[in-house]
């Protein structure tokens, strides 16, 4: 794995994130806006819930027939004059990209937004070979200047404030007047537009991601608001598409269903500004467009996920709604998750791709509030999948000793219902008595980790089970 991973230190990461004042200020900007915009867009389209079912079913069908759709897709790409490079690992994918770049003697590569590129750690590989990769999505450009990875799959710089961006632009854009004003987002955008425009025109190779691949036509699709992906893929002589296996959909009709839920779930737009369907290289008579068209098709563990316990995760269309609605993401931001994919979708996908031994904390970093599943456009049962990871982690003895012995103690009682009821009755009555005066506990033995951050309300008297039995009799 070429990408630096800090997922094993999730707890430390989260602790630092919560005490990081600029990060908390930036996260404040995203805690409500995304949620309101999605809710509005969903409410405005009466067919939205039915479209979610449709989107889920299309992805399910495609995954069940993935081998055949991949073959059909590849055939159409070749017919259109393009090439598909199947790659088992990020290392194979990096090698394929490098060999295409080297064949063209490329010095500069512009890049549209791609999470697969992050999975591959492509930028470092290119730099090591003397090829300069330039991220062109505004958010990606900003984090590249900072040497960071995206903290969100559709809003990569959501963890930053404009003052930080200004400082980075002043540090890097040293050819511009030092007394220029850069306090407003619009001034920052204008500067980035001008700087990147020169890069677009100078690039030898353009690399984009893909939101979807269409088997019917051998087409790749990118969805953007800025237009950077289009300049990236239209101006250089070579267009390389980075995609993973599960991006496939059968037909243009199918992708239309998915497009109707993608932007609404992501940003609350009906459609993103630019939805671009690309099929092969420049045609006879064309006056623009790339001369070569390559698709790097990365597996990286996905072929083993199909049809399995975590196969539902491959339906994900990377809208970001799960993290936009996640109280844990809102609290710690995306970098705390420690690898490429943050939030609930990352908590399920990351253990599949880098191992539960490294990413075991992530599926535990959930309150199971269920908001992610409630908004997922393809109805991935994210909490259930996180629970499966917890079970696997436990089965593989990866959970800490204190947690395991605590669970064993609880299991001892849980398996003996009469003893359990007796013990909880005594326990609750005792706590109720002690806490009666203040109504809450500021600290409790063995529960310091919990009471350090909030008070524990004192039990009011009888247990839930006792009350349940009583009410049932009354009825």
């Amino acid at each position: 794995m070429t990408v630096h991973t800090t997922s094993p230190q999730f707890k430390q990461n989260a602790h630092e994130a919560i005490h990081d004042a600029p990060l908390q200020k930036a996260l404040n900007n995203m805690r409500t806006g995304f949620i309101e915009r999605r809710a509005l867009a969903a409410a405005e389209l009466p067919e939205f819930e039915a479209l979610r079912d449709s989107a889920r079913d299309i992805k399910k069908h495609t995954l069940q027939h993935l081998d055949l759709y991949l073959e059909a897709y590849e055939k159409k790409v070749i017919e259109a004059g393009g090439r598909v490079h199947f790659c088992r690992t990020p290392a194979e994918a990096n090698a394929a990209v490098l060999s295409i770049c080297k064949a063209r003697g490329a010095r500069t590569v512009t890049k549209g937004k791609s999470m697969i590129s992050e999975e591959m750690g492509l930028n470092d590989v290119l730099l090591a070979e003397g090829i300069n990769p330039i991220e062109t999505d505004l958010g990606e450009y900003i984090i590249q200047l900072r040497g960071e990875i995206p903290s969100h799959i559709i809003a990569p710089a959501v963890h930053l404030n404009k003052e930080q961006v200004e400082a980075d632009f002043r540090r890097v854009h040293t050819h511009l007047p030092r007394d220029r004003v850069l306090t407003e987002p619009t001034q920052l955008l204008t500067e980035a537009r001008a700087v990147l425009r020169e890069r677009f025109l100078a690039a030898d190779v353009g690399i984009t991601g893909a939101n979807f691949l269409i088997a019917e036509t051998g087409t790749s699709i990118i969805v953007t608001n800025e237009g950077n992906g289009d300049l990236t893929q239209t101006l250089p002589k070579v267009h390389i598409v980075l995609a993973s296996l599960e991006k496939l959909v059968p037909t243009l009709e199918d992708v239309s269903q998915l497009l109707r839920v993608l932007a609404r779930s992501a940003t609350g737009q009906d459609m993103s500004v630019y939805t671009t369907l690309s099929t092969g290289p420049r045609r006879p008579g064309d006056v623009d467009g790339p001369e070569e068209y390559h698709v790097i098709l990365l597996d990286n563990g996905r072929s083993a996920m199909v049809g399995g316990e975590f196969g539902d995760m491959l339906r994900c269309i990377r809208c970001g709604a799960c993290m936009n609605h996640c109280p844990v993401y809102h609290a710690v931001g995306g970098h705390a998750y420690g690898w490429v994919y943050p939030g609930p979708m990352g908590a399920v996908l990351t253990p599949s791709l880098i191992g539960v031994d490294k990413a075991g904390h992530l599926p535990n970093a959930s309150t199971f509030c269920g908001r992610c599943e409630a908004v997922c456009p393809v109805r991935i049962p994210l909490p259930k999948l996180m629970r499966h990871w917890r079970e696997r982690e436990f089965a593989r003895h990866l959970t800490p000793a204190a947690f395991r012995s605590g669970l064993r103690l609880w299991a001892f009682f849980a398996k003996r219902p009469r003893l359990y009821r007796f013990a909880t009755r005594i326990g609750m009555a005792g706590l109720g008595l002690i806490g009666k005066r203040r109504g809450r506990f500021k600290s409790l033995p063995l529960a310091g980790g919990w009471t350090n951050f909030r008070d524990m309300p004192a039990p009011q008297g009888p247990t839930f089970q006792a009350r349940w039995a009583k009410e049932k009799r009354v009825r």
């Binding site: 809003a155 710089a157 619009t186 955008l189 800025e226 459609m271 064309d286």
Partner: protein, 226 residues
């Protein structure tokens, strides 16, 4: 050593518990690719011709495009000149080889017209759309010498001419029309679905127009809905 391609396909088949040669699976895939069944289509765009144009206009304006209607193709150059003048923009345009645009009386205006792809120095471009989608106010643009893709992205201001008769209800009708023109399973090199001018909200979630693509998108709908 097996190739990555064979390995990946074999892995998928092992995971699914299939060989890849099962007739029912193959027929499922062939049928879907052949029939391309439509899914849920929002009723929002399912209107008569006049209603579709009105819905298109409303949705495109919601996406911060500006829209005007003219009666005849020969009215287009005058409208382009007016738009540029009203926005204090240079009176120069770049156009492709589209015959519909070429037949318009540009000489009746003071506009300086050049043709071909953009190299990044054109303030304004005029393109002809293949169609418009009422549902979301989306333009469908096809690549090729008639309307080079660079004109959609490099100029600061993009003016798009759209025949009222080409305003359809949904994306599915665009695909149907493309299949009628090009045959099943074939697309132009690039189809750009464009909904409003370029924008970004990457800095503090503040929505700003004019990120990398055009800062303004002006749509001229021509003729009577049909």
């Amino acid at each position: 050593m097996t190739s990555a391609r064979e390995d990946i396909l074999a892995n998928i088949r092992r995971s699914l518990g299939v060989t890849g040669s099962e007739a029912p699976r193959r027929s499922n895939v062939a049928t879907r690719l052949q029939n391309a069944p439509a899914g849920i289509i929002p009723v929002r765009g399912q209107l008569d011709a006049r209603g579709r144009v009105a819905m298109f206009k409303q949705q495109a304006e919601r996406a911060q495009a500006s829209v005007t209607e003219v009666a005849h193709p020969e009215d287009v150059p005058g409208e382009v000149a007016r738009f540029l003048r009203d926005h204090n923009l240079p009176a120069t345009i770049r156009i492709g080889a589209d015959a519909r645009l070429g037949a318009m009386p540009w000489a009746q205006t003071a506009l300086e017209v050049s043709s071909g792809r953009s190299n990044g120095n054109d303030p304004n471009a005029v393109s002809h759309a293949f169609g418009g989608v009422a549902e979301s106010g989306t333009l469908a643009m096809l690549s090729g010498p008639d309307n080079p893709t660079t004109l959609n992205f490099l100029p600061d201001n993009h003016i798009v001419v759209l025949s009222a008769a080409d305003v359809v209800g949904d994306y599915e009708t665009i695909w149907k029309r493309l299949r009628d023109d090009l045959g099943k399973g074939t697309l132009p090199r690039t189809v750009n679905l464009i909904t409003g001018p370029s924008r970004s909200a990457d800095i503090e979630q503040t929505l700003l127009l004019g990120a990398h693509g055009p800062r303004t998108l002006h749509i001229i709908i021509v003729g009577e809905p049909a």
